[in-house]
């Protein structure tokens, strides 16, 4: 999916410092490559944005400004698309992005109660990231898994038929994984 040349992407990743926006001199050539790979295709804006977000975990505002200029799409339209889709984020996200589905089926089968339980457990609200940068919480609008409602996604993993009482266990599993990762790094 990432269509930028590898050494440019490596350079970009190296330039990323926690808590800082990516360096423009590293970021923009990568965006140029991504845009070029979609050249001539109508409706390329969303895949371009997806590619950038997959790479960085979020969409820094300057990346949107640059996309607007390079693709000759008004900035208001670019931000309109970004702010419409809950998948896109303009804020850096935690290691684990928890998205609770609020689509009709999940909502009816208790999605909101699941969301409240997660909010309590993590001490953060929708759109926020925990202080230790481990978890971000967002709501989604239907992941297309209505038969498994209510659904919670953690990064790319779908958790089905989640009950509020099982939320603590679910989160603990990721906290443990995070701790193990940290230990391994040390």
């Amino acid at each position: 999916m990432i269509s930028a040349s590898e050494h440019k992407v490596d350079h970009l990743m190296e330039s990323l410092k926690p808590g800082h926006e990516p360096d423009e001199t590293a970021l923009f050539p990568v965006i140029d490559d991504i845009i070029t790979s979609y050249h001539g295709q109508g409706g390329a804006l969303i895949p371009v944005l997806q590619t950038i977000q997959n790479m960085l975990g979020y969409l820094p505002e300057n990346s949107l400004r640059y996309v607007s200029k390079a693709m000759k799409i008004p900035f208001s339209e670019v931000t309109g698309v970004v702010s419409f889709y809950s998948f896109f984020s303009t804020q850096p996200r935690g290691t684990y992005l928890i998205r609770v589905c609020m689509g009709t089926a999940c909502y009816v089968r208790g999605g909101n109660e699941v969301l409240e339980a997660i909010t309590r457990e993590l001490g953060i609200r929708v759109g926020e990231t925990s202080d230790d940068h481990q978890f971000s919480l967002e709501v989604g609008r239907c992941f297309g898994a209505c038969g498994l409602a209510p659904v919670v996604m953690v990064n790319d993993t779908v958790h089905q038929r989640v009950k509020p009482s099982k939320v603590r266990e679910l989160i603990a599993q990721y906290q443990q994984a995070a701790a193990e990762k940290m230990e391994a790094a040390l």
């Binding site: 423009e24 200029k69 008004p74 670019v78 931000t79």
Partner: protein
């Protein structure tokens, strides 16, 4: 043609047209809100729903094409209830202040609610917040009154190619505005006000200068002069119930005197002056290129329309050297009022207030450009739109319909027919050619009625050719030259023309650009609602005004001769350079943070 039935009446309809158009042609009225003539239908508001036999759901008539055999009902219980529900839902979140709203007399939402007989709102819920954004000089935005019809988005993107505003966020949180709903001054908005012209409610309006103007008038120490743009006289009457295209020049002058202005002048005077300066500039560019072999920027573009100037500064900085350095007629007027006229009548320019009546919102922006102070003061203090003047006349208790006609004051109230036609697309070019042709050949422009037919009308891009023969000695280098000119109105058309020239290398010498569709008569500050029919009616009126004049060429204006003799000395001279010409700056469309 297809056969359809509307409310039991069999009709023929052209293939491909919408139910809305077919119904209108058959004489049935369907209410609309988001519908905007000449643009792709949004189908956003659902106020125009109708019942089509065989369709499970109601159809939005603005975006449903007719099919052969279609049986349509525009007035059933189901339709009436659905429309009422739709509008009640809008009203339930609309934060209106209908008694005091500037749009209370022409609000399309209010009118529709009345027409649907809504007497109570059955839905309760959260109301939108009134967060007024008045960060730009010309336009004010209040999302609390917005019904998300997206007419403003359509006109800003599709017609003007500016794209300053779009829908941001989602669902109930949707806001129509700049990126992330930030203030308007953070984005590339050209202030043309076409958004305000098409807004059905009071959500986008001009920033008013009415109170400031009253304050100046009420101050006996101030000498308050007013200038009226050419396009006002063909539209102001609409504020008082006259048909579009009714000329009210004489009544307008009387009303301005009754309001209390100390002198009533005409922007037409400086439109004539613009022709002399801009025509001389064009001839100088041609002479530099053809005689002296210099590198000069051609074609020359006109500079009267401040929205176009700001647009070029943002989106086409490469052609800034091609844009005439002439200030717009409004700004030439301000600079001369506070110098030449102030000296003439012995008034300290510090005690003078210059007010403009403009069909335009971008003129409010232009008057505040920091370089527009060559008199030593802000040259134009306040700008009122045609609509605001209409409001002031009402506030003054003036019975406009029964006013007698009066004439403008000398010296700045005297003008020619060439100045009148600055109001419409093609007009500045025609006026310029009348004078340039006469200067170069010593003869009157050989065009029937002095009109250049291919430049008239509402076609987006128009071109014409004029061959110069039997030239006078001074301009002999132009002998046999065919001048090619182009005209574009609406910024999307201007952009298209610029790109076309870049791609094809097509040669033009002079290009007129007006920001708004139809030119100033369709400006963002004109009485609502401006359709193509209204544009045509106003343009016809402007041509009538021109044709009724004794003098129809700018260089025939005796007061223009006088001001050069007494004050300016010569076109493009030192004084002109200082007072009548300006410079432009490149602006970033999207600035990196």
């Amino acid at each position: 043609m297809v056969d359809i039935t509307i409310n039991g009446l069999p009709c023929k309809a052209r293939e491909g047209i919408t139910i809305l158009t077919a119904a209108k042609e058959a004489g049935f009225t369907i209410p609309t809100l988001c519908f905007l003539e000449g643009t792709t239908p949004q189908g956003a508001c659902r106020a125009c729903v109708v019942e089509v036999e065989g369709f499970a759901a109601l159809a939005a008539s603005c975006s449903t094409p007719v099919n052969n055999g279609m049986v349509i009902h525009t007035n059933t219980k189901r339709v009436r209830n659905a429309r009422r529900d739709v509008v009640e839902l809008m009203l339930s979140e609309h934060s209106g202040d209908c008694q005091t709203c500037v749009r209370s007399t022409d609000c399309e939402l209010l009118t529709l609610a009345q027409n649907l007989g809504i007497r109570n709102i059955s839905f309760t819920g959260e109301s939108l917040k009134n967060t007024i954004d008045s960060s730009t000089p010309a336009l004010s935005r209040d999302p609390g009154k917005c019904i998300k019809c997206r007419r403003c988005v359509t006109i800003c993107h599709d017609i003007q190619h500016v794209g300053a505003i779009s829908a941001q966020f989602r669902g109930y949180d949707t806001v129509i505005g700049p990126a992330f709903s930030r203030p308007m001054d953070s984005v590339a908005c050209v202030q043309c006000g076409q958004c305000a012209a098409v807004c059905p409610t009071g959500s986008i309006t001009e920033i008013t200068h009415i109170e400031a103007v009253w304050k100046a008038i009420d101050d006996p120490a101030r000498h308050v002069v007013v200038q009226t743009a050419p396009a006002i006289r063909a539209a102001l009457g609409e504020c008082f119930g006259y048909e579009p295209g009714t000329l009210v020049t004489g009544k307008m002058v009387t009303a301005l005197r009754e309001i209390g202005f100390d002198a009533v002048f005409d922007t037409n005077f400086t439109a004539d002056l613009t022709i002399i300066e801009e025509g001389s500039e064009l001839l100088k560019r041609l002479e530099d290129a053809l005689v002296h072999g210099k590198e000069v920027a051609l074609p020359q573009y006109t500079s009267c329309s401040p929205g176009w100037i700001k647009y070029a500064e943002y989106f086409h900085p490469e052609i800034l050297p091609n844009i005439s350095s002439c200030k717009s007629p409004q700004q030439m007027f301000g600079a001369l009022a506070k110098t030449y006229y102030a000296q003439k009548i012995g008034v300290d320019p510090a005690d003078m207030t210059v007010v403009s009546i403009m069909p335009c919102t971008a003129k409010k922006f232009e008057a505040q450009r920091p370089e527009m102070n060559s008199s030593g003061y802000q040259d134009v203090d306040y700008v009122l739109t045609t609509r605001e003047l209409g409001d002031m006349i009402k506030m003054a208790g003036i019975d406009f319909l029964s006013l007698p006609d009066q004439k403008m004051d000398a010296p700045f109230g005297i003008s020619t027919g060439a100045a009148d036609i600055f109001a419409n697309t093609g007009g500045v070019m025609e006026a310029a050619l009348r004078t340039v042709y006469a200067l170069v050949t010593g003869r009157i422009l050989p065009a029937e009625g002095l009109h250049i037919k291919p430049l008239a009308g509402l076609e987006g891009i128009k071109t014409a050719e004029v061959t110069l023969t039997d030239t006078v000695d001074r301009w002999r280098f132009l002998e046999g030259v065919t001048a090619r000119v182009a005209v574009a109105h609406g910024l999307g058309n201007a952009s298209e023309l610029i790109e076309r020239i870049k791609e094809t290398g097509e040669v033009f010498h002079f290009i007129e650009v007006m920001t708004c569709p139809g030119g100033c008569i369709g400006g963002g500050g004109q009485p609502r609602f401006t359709t193509d029919d209204v544009r045509r009616a106003r343009i016809d009126a402007i041509y009538r005004e021109d044709e009724g004049r004794e003098l129809r060429q700018s260089h025939d204006n005796p007061y223009i001769t006088q001001i050069y003799e007494e004050f300016l000395k010569s076109p493009l001279g030192e004084k002109s350079h200082h007072l009548l010409h300006t410079t432009y700056e490149e602006r970033e469309t999207v600035e990196m943070l």
